[in-house]
């Protein structure tokens, strides 16, 4: 039902008239030809439009073309056909024959071998092209990996340079946090620049923690603990939160992963005064 509605809408759209005039893009011409092959009502409409255009053209002919026209045309076709045949049968001029010295059979053999060679060349080019395509894809992937690695390395260099810049400042102080009775072997080195509000963990000799726990650094300012950030594992050179002037001491406690608002004092592992 829907389709028949669409078909009648299509037939009234003016496309079939343009189709008959050959006035549509090739793809549209082809798709209407296909449609006409499966829908008799479209084919009939096309034929009716064409019949009307034929009648219109006929109306412009003053009368029938003179009777002799068909026989003249057929003679002209015969003449052309003869010309073609003579051109084909015409022997090669003597001089050319001598230079080339091709008998037809040879010519065929040469043509056939050219065809075979050309076919083989095509196949070779195609398979080469496919291999190249695969190589290109692999290279692209490799290049993406390298680009990502390069970006990581650049970020690392940048971070190191900014850390180094802090270390080079005369106002940067080195602080040693010593192990408390619960963990006497623990030791952490900090670099702190109060003016730049920069704080680095240079080295952390701490015990590995069980799942669900994390070390948290605190600054003690006016006797109150201020969060200075979480340690990500036990790597050296971690940048912590900026702590300005006024800190009297730094300490590290063990906290649940994600950190705490205030330190769990029982689990303090290292402490160092400024």
């Amino acid at each position: 039902m829907d389709e028949s509605l669409n078909i009648s809408a299509f037939m009234e759209s003016g496309h079939l008239e343009l189709y008959v005039l050959g006035d549509l893009p090739v793809e549209e011409m082809e798709s209407i030809t296909r449609l006409a092959a499966t829908h008799p009502e479209i084919r009939e409409e096309i034929e009716a439009i064409e019949a009307s255009l034929i009648s219109y053209a006929e109306a412009h002919a003053p009368n029938d073309p003179a009777g002799g026209l068909l026989s003249r045309t057929l003679k002209a076709i015969d003449a052309e056909f003869e010309d073609d045949r003579e051109a084909l049968l015409q022997p090669q001029p003597e001089s050319q024959t001598r230079i080339l010295d091709f008998r037809p059979r040879w010519a065929w053999a040469v043509a056939a071998s050219i065809l075979v060679v050309s076919g083989a060349a095509n196949f070779w080019l195609l398979s080469n092209w496919q291999t190249s395509e695969q190589n290109l894809l692999a290279l692209r992937q490799e290049q993406e990996v390298l680009a990502a690695q390069f970006q990581q390395a650049s970020q690392l260099v940048e971070k190191s340079q900014s850390q180094l810049a802090i270390l080079q400042l005369p106002s940067t102080r080195q602080l040693e946090l010593a192990g408390l009775p619960g963990s006497p072997d623990s030791r952490v080195t900090l670099f702190w620049n109060p003016e730049e509000q920069a704080l680095l963990v240079a080295n952390a000799e701490l015990k590995a923690l069980p799942e669900g726990f994390q070390y948290q650094l605190w600054a003690i300012i006016d006797g109150q603990p201020v969060d200075a950030g979480l340690l990500t594992g036990l790597e050296a050179w971690q940048q912590m939160k900026g702590i300005g002037p006024g800190a009297q001491a730094f300490a590290i406690t063990i906290e649940p992963t994600g950190g705490s608002i205030s330190p769990t004092l029982n689990d303090m592992v290292v402490l160092g005064n400024v």
Binding site: L53, A61, N63
Partner: protein, 181 residues
């Protein structure tokens, strides 16, 4: 034999360059193709020469006709029209007929050689054509006989492109309804 099967026969014969194709085309389409050509060249003898040349071209190019890309009639019409337009560009034509240039495709009343010997069925067809308004004929003639694109017709007639398209569609619709009473 239906129009459909005649066409299929012609297409098959053309594909193998059989002369029979030209006989069938002549029987069924000569008048329409002649009408198209004479609308361009405006001279009966010249139109006959042109039709002969065009039929030889149709026979020669027969194997290249692709039914999926358009109607057989349209394909033949294009060959005839191009042959006719080529004729009008020849020196001989321009020397003799240059004065008629202005009258090209002006209206249905400007048809060549309407005389007392014109057969009755031709007169009926004439009447049929003149039932189309001059504005409609002008657009149909330029595009159908003159082979102009819609854009070219719009420039030549100094009409907006949309008007050309709607007039063409209207005119073809009117012709179509006259075909099926």
């Amino acid at each position: 034999m239906t129009q459909h099967s005649i066409e299929a026969d012609i297409v098959r014969l053309l594909a193998s360059q059989e002369k029979e194709a030209i006989r069938l085309i002549f029987r069924h389409y000569r008048r329409a193709l002649f009408g198209v050509i004479i609308s361009v060249v405006k001279d009966e003898a010249l139109a006959e020469d042109t039709l002969q040349d065009a039929l030889v071209k149709i026979w020669r190019n027969g194997p290249t006709y692709d039914p999926s890309k358009g109607r057989l009639y349209t394909w033949m019409l294009n060959i005839c029209r191009n042959a006719a337009i080529d004729k009008t560009r020849s020196r001989h034509f321009q020397a003799g007929l240059v004065t008629q240039k202005e009258d090209f495709f002006v209206s249905g009343s400007n048809l060549p050689h309407l005389d007392t010997e014109t057969p009755v069925d031709t007169l009926d067809l004439r009447n049929w054509v003149t039932r189309l308004s001059p504005e409609h004929q002008e657009v149909v003639n330029l595009i159908y006989f003159g082979g102009r694109t819609h854009q070219e017709a719009s420039e030549e007639l100094n009409l907006p492109l949309g008007t050309v398209k709607s007039r063409l569609r209207k005119a073809l619709g009117i012709l179509r309804t006259w075909m099926s009473p």
